[in-house]
Symmetry: C2
Subunit: 205 residues, 2 copies
């Protein structure tokens, strides 16, 4: 990694921590210059605009997420074990010594920020990130169908949607409500999703 | 309703619409004065501070929520029918001609805003609101246990937590991703929660 790349990583790491607390809207090149002792003009030359900085932060967060959550899970055998590894790592991906996000999951705060925005570069970039992640969840789930762990009639997109809901409820319970049972509740909900995947899907009334 | 009360309702209605898009942090007495053609000093005299205005908006939103979601559901028979009525009304409580919130559910955006805040009057007020709502969900669910609709061993707090997750996933899918299947996914997830409540709870592995 060259010196320029290293500097970029340091700047983006700081920007990600800021975005996790203040949101993407709270990112400014001025404040970032102060926090990293870089010159404002140097950061401007590099990122061109606030929007490009915000996009770079989403990109950087996605890379960290893949590194910490997806890649290790993909080393597990296909199917249920891989899905469990992914769930476990997702649960605390925003903690850990090397990437402590003071404001918790930046994807969840970005969702709340960007959902009302008009279409644009940043929103589109973020929506793509979220759809990719739902596709990945569905695909790992489907590996459990081909391995014979889950019912062949299961709806993998519904599973991905539901699992995202389990994680959103966990985030709400642990960060807003500071519920000491948050993790246990998330684990119970996850086991239920798995146990349902082993049975024929119930038909809505 | 006196003239003072009416004015207060108009002002809070506008403040709620603003908060639904810009968040509680986006509320200012200055902008609210412009939007409602009231004097800034009049609004200051009434709300005293930005924080008191924010708390009043949470209070006002809670009243609208009770009026639109909870009260009509409580007119249904106890148990499953009441729970279904509550779910249906919750799904689109932020739409509807009399209360169209342009930025969607204000409770969900407030959750993302306030989860990182230090304890304080506004955060405490909001956390109380959210706990009350989870308690209400658990209590309506328990009415289904006493009516014999749900398994007596069901965990009503887990149910409330899971149902909140269904709603958070719905909000994410419909507002951020603009997923045309969002409502159908939420309904499938809800039916699954009900069908699980009719069976013995699976034990986490």
């Amino acid at each position: 990694m060259g010196k320029g790349d290293e500097t970029r990583q340091v700047v983006l790491g700081q920007a990600l921590r800021t975005a996790s607390t203040l949101g993407l809207r709270g990112l400014t090149i001025g404040a970032l210059a102060e926090q990293t002792s870089m010159s404002k003009s140097g950061l401007f030359a590099h990122f061109k605009s606030k929007e490009q900085l915000q996009c770079a932060v989403i990109e950087y967060a996605s890379e960290r997420f893949v590194e910490r959550v997806l890649r290790p899970a993909l080393r597990e055998p296909r199917g249920e074990r891989r899905l469990r590894a992914l769930f476990d790592r997702w649960l605390d991906w925003d903690g850990g010594a090397d990437l402590a996000l003071p404001g918790g999951c930046v994807f969840i705060s970005a969702s709340a920020e960007l959902d009302d925005e008009a279409d644009g570069v940043l929103r589109d970039r973020f929506v793509r990130n979220q759809r990719d992640w739902l596709d990945t969840l569905a695909s790992v789930f489907r590996s459990g169908i081909t391995e014979g762990h889950f019912d062949a009639d299961s709806d993998s997109e519904q599973f991905a949607h539901d699992l995202y809901g389990v994680m959103l409820a966990y985030h709400h319970a642990t960060r807003l409500l500071r519920d000491p049972h948050a993790e246990q509740r998330a684990r119970v909900a996850f086991e239920r999703l798995l146990s349902l995947a082993r049975r024929p899907t119930p038909v809505p009334v």
